[in-house]
Amino acid sequence: MSSVTDPAPPVTSGGRPLAERTSATPKQLHEWLRQMLLIREFEVRTMQAYQDKKIGGFCHIYIGQEAVAVGCIAAVQHADPVVTAYRDHGHALARGMDPKYCMAEMFGRIGGCAKGKGGSMHMFDKPNNFFGGHGIVGAQTPLGTGLAFAKKYQDEVIDGGVNKHVTLCFLGDGALNQGGFYEAMNLASLFDIPVIFVVENNGYSMGTSIERGTSMSHRIIAKGEGCGLTGYEIDGMDVVNVYEEMKKVADTARAESRPAMVDLRTYRFKGHSMSDPRKYRTRDEEQHWETGDPITRLRDAMIEGGLIDEDGFKALNKDQKVAVREAITWAENSPEPDISELHTDVYVEKFGPYTGTSQPQIVTDAEESR
């Protein structure tokens, strides 16, 4: 019998051929591979820039978890809100943020998505319905319930129709132990709010393994079930599997206007943040998970299915390296925020030292291109 503190066993999605496993088109599969390669390259360059002191503060790297953001976000519609915690570069890019705004934000430049006022942990992209980027563990979970509430309110109370939206609210397994998360689930259940709490279960909250910090760690969806949420356990290292499973979860949540909780098993290949020497886990464990690299898995499956060849993969990867290099150049050329920006965006209204608010380039560029 398993103890309430045992870690969860791995959930595996099997190695059947792609054609049997997914309805996704070759174009979709190529796009997911491209997004994962983009995120991987972006994060590698982010680590270098951090070491070069071009990026300051806290910085959390998404390498290893790419299939989660890419697969989940592919499973919902563009108008569906997405919100996450501080390990947020991957979600921003998967949501469609141009990497130049993301990199410039970390460089503390005016061209950053938040004019350099948010930093690594606080990415926002209004044109792509991405609502942050939140630094306090679990803080985004009541916000996620609220975003889903607002969409349902707009659809049903203001427009007089039926709910058409579902919200993705990502959290790490560390946030399972924050009180606000339970309040967010309870309210979502009471009010039939279609929000999906996607737990990116990478096994560690900073340096504390899940079994050391979380009761029922072998079956965390019990926590959602306690609030009446349907729970799902999904292999998060395989983007095709994430998409297929999350599509069902999202379609159900949308149609029934009900919340859900997903335990997405994944692994962060790097430390909690840039300052983490990873002494709390073994090299064997890391190597075990690295053999299941989500990019390698999709690449191999696509080669096996004849959807891409080695040369095609290399070309695709090279394109992402070029895109990230261009993003870095753009970010470096973006000026620092003018000192007058210190007092802008504190209040919408102008009064005293406060100079009102203005939209960042990520919004004005999107409006121009529309």
């Binding site: 809100p81 919100v83 950053g112 998505c113 938040a114 004019k115 350099g116 006022k117 948010g118 606080h122 926002f124 992209d125 209004k126 609502f131 942050g132 980027g133 939140h134 306090i136 803080a139 979970t141 009541p142 916000l143 996620g144 319930t145 609220g146 975003l147 889903a148 509430f149 607002a150 969409k151 309110y153 707009q154 049903e156 109370v157 203001i158 009180g179 606000g180 339970y182 309040e183 967010a184 309870n186 309210l187 009471l190 009010f191 802008t344 965006d345 504190v346 209040y347 919408v348 209204e349 009064f351 005293g352 608010t357 203005s358 939209q359 960042p360 990520i362 919004v363």
Partner: protein, 328 residues
């Protein structure tokens, strides 16, 4: 024109009701606001008028429903969150202090937070230490939020209506001790702008500055002091953020004296901020340093006599005024 007299609580409800008719994005949520008609009957009848989709009973879950409302505000809705007491806001500190006032800044202008958080604030009902919080001192420290404290029924309506229409997060502090107070309240549209203090009683010898319920303590003290031949000018600041320092400075330059009365604790408070600003603006006008009267620097006591002494009551204000004027 007939002078319609209604209670403070009815004035609050009228502001919410009128704004909800005007704007479908406005909704009210909180503990007991719907079926129970509100713990203090502020929302009486609103469930029947607007239905359960817009008048929403929440469980006792302040962190959850405050955070939920902030998420909804990010998407353009205009929630009114009722905390039965601001004392209960402490369990919601992260959403109301880390999310609401910082969202616009951290998103570089992309997502504002047009939310009103309102409820009872302050001691006076023998509720003991945990239920008698005056949050002015703690929360006015945070940039990005506005803080409004009405002292009269017409302001209750006009300031709450303004708060609901405001694009920034507004912390709206009501006093349970004032909810039954009656006064003339205009029917129809009535908006009191933020950052505009008002002189409640003109005077020539000293300026009393206060916010919310202690404005009445100041008026009581001024009445007593008038019998001694001391003329007090009483200023109702109305909003702490924005602070109308100009009206205060104008008065102090006339009276050459100032006593600030603030029901929060003295250390790092609106009272200390007003005093510092008056000292900076009126250094050459003052005949004495600015005096301050606060709630005593102890947890709020239960016993009636201790609680009355704890408050910045009229007797303590009068003593401060005499001291400011060098009257033995």
């Amino acid at each position: 024109m007939s002078e319609r007299i209604i209670e403070f609580r009815d004035a609050l409800r009228e502001a919410m009701t009128q704004e909800m008719h005007r704007d479908p994005r406005v909704f009210l949520l909180g503990e007991e606001v719907a079926q129970y008609d509100g713990a203090y009957k502020v929302s009486r009848g609103m469930l029947e008028e607007f239905g359960p989709r817009r008048i929403i009973d929440t469980p006792i879950s302040e962190s959850g429903f405050a955070g939920m409302a902030i998420g909804a505000a990010m998407l353009g809705l205009r929630p009114i969150v009722e905390f039965m007491s601001w004392s209960f806001s402490l369990v919601a500190a992260d959403p109301i202090l880390n999310n609401a006032p910082k969202m616009l800044y951290m998103s570089g202008g992309q997502f504002g937070c047009p939310i009103v958080i309102r409820g009872n604030d302050g001691a006076g009902g023998q509720l003991g230490s945990t239920h008698s919080w005056c949050v002015e001192g703690m929360f006015s420290n945070v940039p990005g939020l506005k803080m409004a404290i009405p002292a009269f029924p017409d302001d209750a309506k006009g300031m709450l209506a303004t708060a609901i229409r405001d694009d920034d997060p507004v912390f709206f502090l009501e006093s349970e001790r004032l909810l039954a107070m009656k006064g003339h309240v205009p029917e129809g549209d009535h908006y009191v702008p933020f950052g505009k203090a008002v002189v409640r009683r003109p005077g020539t010898d000293v300026t009393l500055v206060s916010f919310g319920r202690p404005v009445h303590f100041c008026l009581d003290a001024a009445e007593e002091l008038a019998k001694e031949g001391i003329s007090c000018e009483v200023i109702d600041g109305r909003t702490i953020r924005p602070l109308d320092i100009d009206t205060i400075v104008q008065s102090v330059r006339k009276t050459n004296g100032c006593v600030v009365v603030d029901q929060s604790w003295s250390f790092g408070s609106p009272g200390s901020e007003v005093a510092a600003q008056v000292h900076a603006h009126c250094f050459d006008d003052l005949d004495n340093h600015v005096m301050r009267v606060h709630s005593s620097d102890v947890p709020s006591p239960y016993a009636a006599n201790l609680e009355q002494e704890f408050l910045p009551n009229a007797r303590r204000i009068a003593e401060a005024v005499r001291s400011a004027l060098y009257v033995a």
